[in-house]
């Protein structure tokens, strides 16, 4: 474990940026944090969470896959994706780091998604422990420790110091790069901070939310539950929850004709949309109830069924804060899961 002065953080950022792109949460004028490329003058945000999750780095909202040009009977293909440089994402919260595992299961299992894989290969994740969790946090439900060690490097933030620990080879490389600003310290140096975090975490209102009633074998139990009607009835069908969600991974592939050539790109899509996975015969889920149920069943039942019981929610709480009508996975879990035992 190494430590650095909090005051030297900008020098550290500057150092990292010399050799690779560095991204970190920065507040915009309205006080909302979003990941931004660091440059001189950008300040690391104090905010717990960014509005958009860091999944954007590996699975961007819009990503050009290739270009092609049709002239006469010839089609000329051009690969536009150029992902060959390392980059650092700093300040990722433990829940968000876990979300990459969720995405990895999907994109890195066969058939492997080359674009995603390349980004994962080049991305270095520096996680930062959550010193100030919010009332909307429920990562504990999914076994995540807000003070735990995640990513390639973990950072604990103290009053005046940062404590650094490399978890992977990629992480070691970064630590080496900034070694001039850090000094070695006791491996227990961050324990105070961890304890403090745990103490706060115990007070979180959603601390006792349990996912044990959910899992891969529960399809029959939940699919036809009458509560879906009242839960989904005020859903606007917007995509806010899916777009701020770190684990939602649905996308659409579309062509854009520039007039000179055609760009084939993919972009996030949302299972909440009535046009989602529209096919010539229509869409598979006809009502908002079905679409709403799909999202939560996927997070709590289908995904665990596919990936060894792992849930595809990490409890970051973004959807709790941004849903226009305040309907969210916590309300769904409490409404359905609470009655499962009866």
């Amino acid at each position: 474990m190494r430590k650095s002065l909090l005051t030297s953080v900008d020098s550290i950022f500057s150092k990292i940026s010399e050799s690779m792109a560095l991204f970190l949460p920065v507040d915009d004028p309205t006080g909302r944090a979003n990941y931004t490329r660091w440059e001189e003058g950008k300040k690391w945000s104090e905010a717990l969470n960014t509005v958009k999750s860091p999944k954007d780095f590996f699975f961007p909202q819009v990503e050009d896959l290739m270009k092609f040009k049709v002239s006469g009977k010839n089609i000329e293909l051009k690969n536009t994706a150029k992902i060959d440089e390392d980059f650092v994402v700093f300040g990722v919260r433990p829940c968000d780091v876990r979300s990459f595992d969720v995405l990895d299961n999907v994109f890195l299992s066969e058939p492997r998604d080359g674009y995603y894989a390349a980004r994962r290969k080049h991305g270095i994740i520096v996680s930062v422990a959550c010193s100030k969790p919010s009332e909307t946090c429920f990562c504990h439900t999914f076994g995540i420790d807000p003070a735990g060690e995640y990513g390639d490097v973990t950072v604990w933030k103290g009053e005046n110091e940062l404590f650094w620990k490399a978890n992977t080879e990629k992480g070691e490389k970064v630590m080496e790069l900034i070694s001039e600003f850090t000094e070695s310290c006791d491996d227990n140096a961050a324990d105070d901070i961890k304890a403090k975090i745990e103490k706060i975490a115990e007070k979180l209102p959603l601390r006792n939310l349990s996912a044990e009633n959910f899992g891969g074998d529960k399809t029959d139990e939940y699919f036809d539950r009458p509560e879906w009607k009242s839960l989904s009835e005020s859903c606007l069908g917007c995509g806010t929850c899916t777009f701020v969600c770190p684990t939602c991974q649905c996308y659409d592939i579309k062509d854009f004709n520039t007039g000179k050539d055609v760009i084939r790109f993919r972009c996030w899509d949302s299972c909440m949309y009535s046009e989602f996975t529209q096919m010539s015969a229509g869409q598979p889920r006809l009502t908002q109830l079905e679409r709403f149920r799909q999202r939560f069943m996927h997070k709590l039942v289908y995904y665990p069924a596919n990936y060894d019981g792992m849930f595809s929610c990490v409890g970051c709480g973004r959807c709790l804060k941004s849903c226009p009508i305040h309907m969210n996975i916590v309300k769904v879990m409490k409404t359905l899961g609470g009655k499962a035992d009866e």
Partner: protein, 331 residues
């Protein structure tokens, strides 16, 4: 604090349910925390007694729900509408989107709703509960032992601070006092401020705002004027379909066209800005159109009268020329 109390609404709702006037009640259902209420339909008195909530976080505009919720139901729906909601409701009646006979409107007076993000900015994160007390909102966080008090004034949503009207333009019954229109609300102040900037400044301002857009469509899907059966942005044949803000152009395109489509129909309810996860001040686009319409073609408030002709489907032979738009501003 709202002068209307939960009990006033629940007793009204239960009596109307019991005497058969309505078969369902559109109201607010309790959430996890004090501020995260969900609009919901209540069918029984028990449900209302247990779960119906009314407090300073009941900002959602119910009028749009009535478009779809009145379809699959026998009898009437009781809708509690705040003054601003009644304008949207009227506008939807004008556009034949709601069957008036299916709705029992109870107008409720409103003292302005609170904005949780303004409260959070004052108290910090970790809000475990909020209670509405006469002297202010008592906010308890997990980081403090004692609750912090936030005044209603400090907590009030921007759209409520410059509320255009406390008057209900439509109701079957009224609870609370009827208010007045407020022509001095200065709701165009920020628009005028932007107009006074140089084009470069304006461009920089909007670039900064719109670049945050994540195209989640919350603004559109909450908007009571956006009730199209099929939105042009979802329609692959419209020539305007776009699912993601692929470039800065598409960010601009979406918001310009959306504002244009609701121009003359937007009642300025402010829901678009309320729901934006990135807090883009989308209402400033709509207000620009409203302000222009008022100055170019005479005062017009969408939703004020059912059946009124929206300015964009109307004209006079003496209208000003597009080229005069800038002359008259002396720019």
């Amino acid at each position: 604090m709202q002068r209307i109390t939960r009990e006033m609404l629940t007793s009204k709702a239960i009596s109307l349910l019991n005497d058969g006037t309505v078969s369902a009640v559109l109201g607010w259902r309790e959430g996890e925390f004090s501020y995260d209420l969900t609009p919901s339909l209540f069918y029984t008195a028990e449900d209302i007694e247990q779960n119906f909530v009314f407090n300073d976080f009941c900002g959602a505009n119910f009028s749009k729900y009535l478009v779809t919720k009145t379809l699959g139901i026998e009898g009437k729906i009781l809708a509690f509408l705040k003054p601003c909601d009644t304008y949207s409701f009227n506008q939807l009646l004008t556009e034949h989107r709601i069957d008036r006979s299916k709705v029992y409107v109870v107008g409720i007076s409103c003292d302005g709703m609170a904005d949780i993000s303004k409260i959070r900015a004052i108290t910090g994160d970790g809000i475990s509960s909020i209670s509405c007390e006469p002297d202010g909102l008592k906010v308890q966080t997990i980081y403090d032992d004692e609750p912090k008090t936030v005044s209603y004034e400090d907590a009030m949503a921007e759209r409520c601070i410059c509320c255009k009207s406390k008057k209900h333009v439509c109701y079957d019954e009224l609870i609370g006092e009827e208010g007045e229109e407020n022509p001095d609300c200065n709701r165009f102040g920020k628009v005028a401020e932007l107009e006074a900037m140089t084009p470069d400044e304006r461009f920089a301002f909007w670039r900064g705002e719109l670049s945050r857009c994540i195209r989640c469509n919350a603004c559109r899907d909450v908007c009571p004027a956006c009730t199209c059966e099929k939105c042009v942005f979802n329609n692959p044949n419209s020539g305007a379909e776009n699912k993601a803000p692929a470039t800065s152009f598409e960010e601009q395109m979406f918001h310009i066209i959306r504002a244009f489509h609701v121009a003359g129909r937007c009642t300025d309810c402010g829901e678009c800005s309320r729901v934006c996860p990135q807090h883009i001040p989308l209402h400033l686009l709509n207000r620009k159109f409203i302000k222009d319409i008022n100055t170019f073609y005479g005062e017009y408030q969408a939703g004020k009268e059912v059946g009124s002709r929206a300015p964009l489907v109307d004209y006079t032979t003496g209208d000003l020329e597009p080229g005069q738009v800038f002359e008259r501003e002396g720019m």
